[in-house]
């Protein structure tokens, strides 16, 4: 890969107003790139005063860009975000699944619409503050886990392709989070002390239930054991994720209760006792929308590791490719709470191979229709 002189290389940094993208921009600037900071406005919401909720974040972007000495702009992808991410998000919930909007946002917005926007500004690269690495090795781009294992974000980036990676930089992927904060602090960046944002971007710090109920009608129903015992009421299936304990409010003797399944037709939430309730375990899935980082041909079946949730430890699996960007994944040991809608992401050591969406979950060769 030919390298241009940094000073003739224009890099657009997607800045969120957080410390990670701030340091990403700072490092690129220090490396001599022609850096431009751009804030994405993906969601239109206002606070009590009628002010964009994104304002504070944008103000932080401005402060940081001024400190670094780079131009900054904002770009509006509300429409695209709504069409491609939020609609998908709602559809999945309606289907009783647990979607991962961040994966979709990266695929459709950050590394598609935003990347295009960056290119239309004459940029050579788009950089973000993700904890991940891109290397050009053996004639192709590879996406590696971020050095900080605890922060690695390749899980969310699993859908990126060669073409995208060829235009992408992750300037902080080789750093520990603590180091990133230290750099920010030393440079006295306005965002140095800012807390990491939690939750999904468009919901922000708000109550998730409240937010969702604005868009999807909540249908209260029963909580039952698989044995048919009614254990209480739930306010809406969409508020519950398989494997989670909170919000059930079932007391009594014995081990704590967990959400272990859903019956969409009957609007029933299945509950069971014990973290390791056997109903929570599965041993295979079918994934759809499978995308591979490498364009090179793959064997039809191969072993690797996989994650089925963000920050999950790696599990040994065997992948068998199917038609239509689908694949089967066989777990070498049963895994708890593998949930349709979430991503299955594949790794070979530090390399992220790609991933897909968990569509069907199996145990002992039988599909578990109650997970969702």
């Amino acid at each position: 890969m030919e390298q241009k002189d940094p000073k003739n290389t224009r890099v657009v940094v997607g800045m969120s107003g957080g410390v990670d993208s701030s340091v990403a921009a700072l490092l690129l600037k220090q490396q001599g790139y022609d850096v431009i900071g751009i804030f994405m406005k993906n969601w239109d919401d206002t606070d009590d005063n009628g002010v964009c909720t994104a304002t504070e974040d944008y103000n932080d972007v401005i402060r940081v860009c001024n400190q670094i000495g780079i131009p900054y702009y904002a770009v509006n992808f509300e429409k695209q975000y709504w069409d491609k991410v939020f609609t998908y998000f709602l559809e999945e919930y309606k289907a009783g699944r647990t979607p991962n909007p961040d994966v979709m946002c990266n695929k459709e917005i950050k590394f598609k619409a935003f990347l295009e926007h960056a290119m239309s500004l004459g940029a050579d690269y788009l950089a973000t503050g993700h904890y991940a690495r891109v290397v050009y090795r053996d004639g192709e781009y590879k996406m590696l886990r971020g050095i900080d294992e605890n922060k690695d974000q390749t899980y969310f980036l699993n859908q990126l392709t060669q073409e995208q990676l060829s235009k992408v930089m992750f300037p902080i992927g080789h750093l520990e989070k603590a180091k990133v904060r230290e750099i920010a602090k030393q440079a006295n960046l306005a965002t140095a002390g800012k807390k990491d944002s939690t939750g999904i971007c468009f919901i922000g710090e708000r109550n998730f239930k409240e937010f969702l109920s604005q868009y999807l009608p909540a249908q209260p129903g029963n909580m039952e054991t698989f044995e048919g015992e009614i254990k209480g009421r739930h306010e809406g299936l969409m508020y519950h994720t398989i494997g989670q304990r909170h919000g059930l409010g079932i007391g009594g003797a014995g081990e704590p209760w967990f959400a272990i399944g859903k019956d969409l037709k009957r609007n029933v939430l299945y509950v069971g006792q014990g973290f390791h309730n056997e109903k929570l375990y599965s041993d295979a899935i079918i994934a759809t929308n499978v995308s591979w980082v490498s364009n090179r041909p793959k064997p039809t079946e191969f072993d690797c590791t996989a994650k089925f949730r963000y920050r999950q430890e790696d599990h040994k699996v065997t992948v068998r490719l199917l038609e239509g960007e689908r694949c089967q994944v066989f777990f070498h040991e049963p895994i708890r709470a593998v949930t349709p809608g979430q991503s299955a992401v594949f790794y070979n050591g530090e390399e992220c191979l790609g991933g897909g969406t968990i569509d069907e979950v199996y145990k002992n060769g039988e599909r578990l229709t109650y997970v969702g």
Binding site: I36, K41, V51, D57, Y73, A74, N76, H117, S120, L121
Partner: protein, 380 residues
Amino acid sequence: MERIYLDHAATSPMHPKVIERMLEVMRSVPGNPSSIHSFGREARRELDLAREVMAKSIGAKVNEIIFTSGGTEADNMALFGVAENYQQFGKHVITTAVEHHAVLHACQKLEQLGFEVTYLPVDETGRISVSDLEAALRDDTILVSVMYGNNEVGTLQPIKEIGELLKNHQAKFHTDAVQAYGIENMDVDECFIDLLSVSAHKINGPKGTGFLYVRSDVKLAPRLFGGEQERKRRAGTENVASIAGFHEAVVIANKERDEKREKFINFKKMMVQRLQELSVEFAINGSLENSLPHILNLSFPGTNVEAMLVNLDLGGIAVSSGSACTAGSIEPSHVLVAMFGKESERLTNSIRLSFGFSTTAEEIIKTAEETAKVVSRLKK
């Protein structure tokens, strides 16, 4: 990089003579105009001299000029001040869909306060029709606010006809002349205008100052309470140095008006011609004829405004479009919505160029050429 500033309608650079004058006042006129000692008198004198020149510039009397902190405050004072004091005669207000936000958002607040507001539509050039206004007028209409010239597309409104229509109606006639003042000749008596808003920083004066003309028979409720400044209609120590600078800016604007008009009209022609020569596809929002000479709003089909603005900025050319929200993104212009409807592509592919005293023909040509380049890149 030599930068080109074609956003004089957003704010205009201060004229060197204005800066010089302000510097002089900042240094040598330290007093408070309300103070009764020599320092106070000297400060007060600056206000009086400025007031005289400003009054004269629109055919008004000195005691009809209220200094404000700018155009927004002038507009707000006019609308709330009339609404509060005349509500016993009715609670109906008429304005247009293409006003500056200072008028529109004040009108929305009036609606919250129980007033009824009619927003007149405009045609594709951005102009209201006087017959629409006539039809909207009611016995309980107490205020009509129609801007003199539009800040986004430059379109001039039929101010004199409106004034004539209203002269025998109880409704007070306010015009937001922030964008037109200095470049258009205006006379409040000729046009039967009761209130008129002006901002200094649009005519190469300082930011943070403006004036509201209020015809002497209009009883305006104040919005700022405190000292007895501006004959109790606008409390707060007057911004003496800025007002002196504003004064200088008005003098310059009056002197150079004709010359500037001719120059700017020519710039518009040059820009249009050069874009045509470069085979750029574009359309003019508004009209070339019935328009403020310094504002040119162009639509470039197939482009996107955010990319256009950023590209031009990165190329050293400052132009604008609509307004940015507090989170920095460009909001679709309500003016273009009023002209072309909510679904029009023009909402997302139009930019405004606006000229000022420092603008040169070379800058116009260079802008046309850079625009052509950007458009062609974006349409790929």
